[in-house]
Symmetry: C2
Subunit: 334 residues, 2 copies
DNA sequence: CTGAAAGCGCTTACAG
DNA sequence: CTGAAAGCGCTTACAG
C-alpha cells in the first residue's frame, strides 16, 4: 500500500490535521512542527493522493481544453503552449477533440469531461452562442477564438482585422499596388476569414486604392488552395504584384506556385501570410507574416480561467481580451 | 449538490449496492430491478462521480502519454490518433510534454502524473533503458519508438529499416542509379536515422549498386536542411537522379530547392520521403513516401496498454510490435 | 439476486 | 497553533 497522511502523522507524532496544514502551506505552524512533519514526509517518501484530495475538495487542478483536432498544426502549437503556461500555475491540461462537431462540443461542455476539470478553455467551432450559454454549466468557461463575441462570455482572441490591415499596409508601403487576396469569400464576415478580409480592404482604403474583386481568390485554407488561386489568377491574365494569403499555409502554397512558374519572390511578386507557423520561418524565401500573439493568448486565457476558478476575478460581465500582434517582416516581402 | 447514488437508490426503492450493480453491468440483476434503477437515474439526471469511483477502485480510466512536444507535427498527429483509439475503449489520454529532457521524462515516470493514469505510453527520447526500467513503477508502461529495444519492455514501433529499403528500391526500380540520401550521418546506428540509412544501403546492395558516400548529405531533420543538402550537392557538382529524404520535411525542402533551380521533379530528379505527414499529400508535385503505419501503431499500443491494465495480457516478457508500412507512390517518384 | 457495513485518503468545519 | 470527528461518493468483500 502507498504511504498515507496517517502514516506521516504517526511518524511525526502529530495529528492528521497538522500534516494537512503543512501540506497546504497553512500560515500558523510552529517551525519545529513543520520540520518534524517534513522530515517524516521525506523519510517515508509520502506523496499526496490526488484523487482523495479531489474528492474531498471538489477541485481537480485540471483545465479542460476543447479544440477540433491536435493534428491541425495551429492547435498542436496552441495546446503545447497552454500546457506549459498552465503548468507554471500548478494546473494540468486535459484535451478533448471535438472534430468541429456540434454533438462532440456539447458533450465536452456537459458530459463527464466537466467533472474531471475545474474549468474549460473552449474553441467554439460548431455551436451557436445561445447553445453554449445554456449548456456551459456552473464552472468557468473561457472561449478561445473569434466566432462568438458576446458579453456573457469570457473571450480571448487575436486582432484579426487590425493585423490583416497592418500586413496589407506593409505590402502597399513597399510600393505594391495590386495585392491579390487568397482564401476569402466576399460574403465572409464574422469569422477569421471575414475579419482578415475586412482588414485588407481597410488598408486599401487607407492608401486610396480601389478594391478590385478580380484580385480576390476564394478557396479553402490549405496549401493546394493557395497554389490553385495563384494559378487561376495567372492563367486568367489578372495582373498583380503581391499576394496576401489569409493564413500562412495559403501563402506558402501561393509562393510555391509562383516560384515553379519562374516568377521571382519578392522581386516580381511579394507574398505575405498570417499566423506565423513554424513553417513560415523555414520557407525559402522566408515568409513575411503576422504573428497573432499566441504566447499572449495562452497566458491571458490560462490566467483568466484560473482567476475565475480561484475566485480572483470579480463576477462581472465577460472579460474580452485581444492579443497584440507582431508584424514579422521576412524575405518574401521585405 | 449533485445527485448521488444514494438519491437514486432511494428513488428506486433499492439499496446502494443494487444501483452500483446496475451501473457496473453486473450480470445477475432482475430485469425489473434494472429498469426501476435506470428510470430513477434518468429521472434524477444522475451522473456517476468519477473521482469517487477512482478513489475507491484505484483506477482512473486515463492513459498517460509522454512525448516531447505537441507542436511537433508528427506528435500532434500521433496524439490525436491515440486519443481517438483510446476513447473507443472508454479511456481518456492525458498528455505530458517532456521536451526530450531527462528530468522531465523521469518525473513523468515517477511523479504525480502516474497517480492520475492507469498506464503510460512513453516515448523515451532522453532516458537510457536501465533508468526507465528502474523507475517505471508498478503500473504498465508501453514504449513508443525505436530507441530502446529490450526484452524487459513492451514496445510498439515502425519498420524503419524495411520501409526505407522499400522506398529506395522503388526509386531504383524506376531506373534511378544515383540516389542522394539526405539527413543521415555515417555514424548513426540505432535511432530512426541509422535504421533508415541502413535500409537505404541494403536496397542499393540488393540492386548491386555501390554505396557512394558523396551522395550522403547529413543535417538536421528540417525543411531548410533538405534544401541546403540539395544546394550543396548541386554546387559541388555531384551528379544524382533521385533524392531520398529520411523524413518528409527534409524531402520537401529538397524538392523545393530543386524546383526553384529549374530542375524538374520527377523528370530530372525523383524525390521520396518518409512519414507520410499531411503536407506530403498536398505538396506539388505530391510526395512519394512511406507511411509508417501510424494507425496501426496507435491501435496496437493502446490495445496492448489497456490489456496490461485490465490484466488481459499474460505477464510474460515484453511484447514487441512493428507496424506494417505502406509505400505511397505519388507524383514526385511515380 | 440484493442488503448493510466498511473504507479508499484526503479536507473541512468545529473546538479548544 | 493543534486535535478529534465527520464526510466527499463511490466500490468491495461479506452475508444471506
Amino acid at each position: 500500500m502507498a504511504v498515507t497522511m496517517n502514516d506521516v502523522a504517526r511518524a511525526a507524532g502529530v495529528s492528521l490535521k497538522t500534516v494537512s496544514n503543512v501540506l497546504n502551506d497553512y500560515e500558523f505552524i510552529r517551525p519545529a512542527t513543520r520540520q518534524k512533519v517534513n522530515e517524516a514526509i521525506a523519510e517515508l517518501g509520502y506523496e499526496a493522493n490526488l484523487t482523495a484530495r479531489s474528492l474531498r475538495s471538489g477541485k481537480t487542478r485540471m483545465l479542460g481544453l476543447v479544440l477540433s483536432d491536435l493534428s491541425v498544426p495551429y492547435y498542436g502549437e496552441l495546446a503545447s503552449k497552454l500546457m506549459k503556461v498552465a503548468s507554471l500555475r500548478g494546473y494540468r491540461v486535459l484535451v478533448e477533440q471535438s472534430d468541429a462537431n456540434v454533438d462532440n462540443e456539447l458533450s465536452a461542455l456537459q458530459g463527464p469531461f466537466r467533472q474531471l476539470t475545474d474549468g474549460l478553455l473552449f474553441t467554439p467551432l460548431a455551436m451557436e452562442a445561445d447553445a453554449v450559454a445554456s449548456s456551459r454549466g456552473n464552472k468557468p468557461v473561457v472561449l478561445l477564438g473569434e466566432y462568438i463575441l458576446d458579453a456573457r462570455f469570457d473571450l480571448v482572441t487575436m486582432k484579426n482585422e487590425e493585423a490583416a490591415r497592418a500586413v496589407t499596409a506593409h505590402l502597399l508601403a513597399g510600393g505594391r499596388r495590386r495585392v491579390a487576396v487568397v482564401g476569402a469569400h466576399p460574403e465572409d464576415s464574422g469569422g477569421s476569414a471575414g475579419l482578415r478580409l475586412s482588414g485588407y480592404r481597410k488598408a486599401l482604403e487607407d492608401a486610396g486604392i480601389a478594391f478590385d474583386p478580380a484580385l480576390m481568390a476564394p478557396g479553402g485554407w490549405w496549401r493546394d488552395a493557395g497554389a490553385a488561386a495563384v494559378a487561376g489568377l495567372l492563367d486568367a491574365g489578372v495582373p498583380f504584384d503581391a499576394v496576401f494569403g489569409l493564413n500562412d499555409t495559403l501563402a506558402l502554397g501561393a509562393m510555391h506556385e509562383l516560384l515553379i512558374r519562374g516568377i521571382k519572390v519578392p522581386q516580381d511578386v511579394a507574398v505575405a501570410g498570417f499566423d506565423d507557423i513554424d513553417e513560415a520561418r523555414f520557407a525559402s524565401p522566408s515568409l513575411t507574416t503576422v504573428s497573432p500573439g499566441m504566447d499572449e493568448i495562452a497566458e491571458r486565457s490560462i490566467g483568466l480561467l484560473i482567476d475565475r476558478i480561484e475566485g480572483l476575478q470579480p463576477e462581472d460581465d465577460g472579460v474580452h481580451v485581444e492579443a497584440d500582434f507582431i508584424l514579422k517582416i521576412r524575405e518574401s516581402a521585405p
